[in-house]
């Protein structure tokens, strides 16, 4: 059986939680004791320490939007810059408003509706939760991990 990658992620917005994901597979939200459990499991799951990616920065509030801008680093080498935008409501309902807002500071670099939301059922209010956020961050971090030349444009 080929080895699978298990990603364990933390987000300062939800400091008492820990998210564990398999890319394209199930995601678990747990409390921070999950990290302690992973230490107990170290003979079954090897920690790929060199692959740790961290994103640090500032968070800003502008009316209904929460904007977080961070620097992404992988083993102390800067790999990119991230921008996270949070509206208060269902992202698909206000996607056009969000695009306009993002355009006002990113110019033409506006991304498409993230795939995690495209997959959600239509017509239901599906608030974006930490799983959706972490899935997007994981996609971004994996793109940055694969970069040969740090600093290339990746959205």
């Amino acid at each position: 059986q080929p080895s699978k990658l298990l990603y364990v992620m933390h987000n300062s917005e939800v400091p008492l939680s820990c998210m564990a994901l398999f890319e394209g597979g199930p995601c678990l939200t747990a409390d921070t004791n999950f990290d302690v459990l992973m230490v107990k499991l170290k003979s079954h799951f090897q920690n790929a320490k060199g692959h740790k990616v961290e994103c640090r920065g500032s968070r800003y509030r502008y009316c209904d939007f929460l904007i977080k801008v961070g620097t992404v680093t992988m083993s102390s080498s800067a790999r990119g810059i991230s921008a996270e935008v949070w509206p208060e409501f269902d992202i698909r309902d206000c996607w056009n408003l969000m695009r306009e807002f993002i355009q006002s500071f990113l110019g033409n670099n506006v991304p498409e509706l993230p795939t995690v939301f495209a997959a959600k059922p239509e017509g239901l209010f599906a608030p974006a939760d930490c799983v959706d956020t972490m899935t997007q961050y994981l996609e971004l971090f994996n793109k940055l991990r694969k970069l040969q030349i740090p600093g290339s444009n990746v959205r």
Binding site: A20, F22, C27, L28, D31, F34, V39, H44
Partner: protein
């Protein structure tokens, strides 16, 4: 950040025993008198035991528990380490314990990690507390069709009784307190230190 040092290592101190169903009411009556709560909490839980077989050594065991009486509550994942070998005069079973609250994707997630469900059961009963001590009196039923908790069968005509305390490592006074509490329950029930390795696979 992965936690490496400075984590509080929690230990579970445990004494176990059983009573025939016919003696249950007397035991509950005694516990109501001795313990803290006015009315004990009742519960019905479904527990699945998962194993991860490694290259060598014993399989890694994880216990995933959910409440059938509060279906939206998070799952409770528990790891129990090997019993601490040491002071034979120590009155209770002591083992490392890690408790994690988890979302409802837990069983699928454990399968993805490589764990396989070994067995499952439904347990229902009462919880009493006295200070840091917890007394659980419950019956255990086997699940006849995997995943179907409606259709269960009692495993025996007795109730399992567990007296436990969760405390940071090094607090050895616990087992003394547990022993004196257990004395007060005699002769209705004899709670003792059980060796789990004699019951495992």
């Amino acid at each position: 950040m992965p936690i490496t040092s400075g984590t509080i290592n929690m230990m579970e101190y445990l004494l176990q025993g059983s009573v025939l169903d016919s003696a249950l009411e007397s035991l509950l009556h005694r516990l109501r008198g001795l313990c803290d709560n006015m009315e004990p909490e009742t519960f019905t839980d479904h527990e699945l035991v998962f194993l991860l077989k490694g290259q060598q050594g014993n399989p890694f065991i994880l216990r995933a528990r959910r409440s059938l009486s509060h279906p939206t509550a998070p799952w409770h994942l528990r790891y129990l380490g090997q019993p601490e070998v040491g002071d034979k005069s120590r009155h209770a079973l002591v083992r490392n314990c890690v408790d994690v609250a988890a979302s409802h994707s837990l069983p699928d997630f454990l399968n993805e990690m490589g764990f396989r469900m070994d067995h499952e059961f439904v347990t229902s009963g009462h919880i009493f507390r006295k200070g840091a001590m917890k007394v659980v009196v419950c019956n255990v039923s086997r699940v006849l069709v995997p995943g179907n908790t409606e259709n269960t069968e009692r495993m025996s005509l007795s109730h399992l009784v567990e007296l436990s305390v969760l405390a940071p490592a090094g607090q050895d006074t616990m087992s003394e307190d547990m022993r004196s509490f257990a004395e007060q329950l005699k002769p209705l029930i004899h709670l003792e230190k059980i060796d789990p390795s004699k019951q495992r696979h």
